[in-house]
Symmetry: C2
Subunit: 114 residues, 2 copies
């Protein structure tokens, strides 16, 4: 279990999928439902290490993976799910997906007082 509010303590090298997006003003409940299904699906994928997500107007979601092949398998699964719902391009005005190899990581936590 992780007490941190975001993903920490992963040992490089590993991979990140950085998804930056602006949503359309349509059908947020359907979006949320599909997003929950995608996240549930990700949790079950081999090589999934975790995901962090924030949205204001801009949304940034970063998911972490053991290898490019784990990402490829996940994308095949999720594209399949999204294609069934013809969802992605109708939900987003614009998005960018990047796949990146994490080479260094440094975690900082303020000392907890007893």
């Amino acid at each position: 279990m992780q007490n941190q509010p975001f993903i920490t303590n992963l040992q490089p090298p590993y991979y990140a999928v950085i998804f930056s997006s602006i949503r359309n003003d349509v059908d947020h409940s359907a979006y949320d439902e599909m997003n929950n299904r995608l996240m549930a699906l990700a949790q079950k994928q081999p090589g999934f290490l975790g995901v962090d997500s924030v949205r204001d107007k801009l949304g940034i979601t970063v998911s972490y993976w053991k290898s490019p092949s784990a990402i490829k398998a996940w994308q095949t699964q999720s594209d399949h799910l999204l294609a069934k719902r013809q969802a992605r391009t109708s939900w987003y005005k614009t998005y960018t997906i990047r796949i990146a190899r994490v080479e260094q990581a440094h975690d900082f936590s303020a000392k907890q007082l007893p």
Copy 2:
């Protein structure tokens, strides 16, 4: 100039600094001021390609750079600035910095109607 609300159209390979953080509930105006100075400093650094940032409770900032050496030079500069203000560790409850090599990127934009 970039009309997109986030950074697009960068050609891999390039580098990303992924900064995930939770702030302390102190002195937001000083934080904002220093953050603005850091961003202004980044813009002037050789090899800086852009930055996207979102905060809800969790904050995710991703800055993009041409090379590891450009990141190193930026970190030296920004650590210097932060050290002068002894800022970072007092502003954050917890943070993680990752340096990652972007190997693939895909941009999507919904077609604009005339």
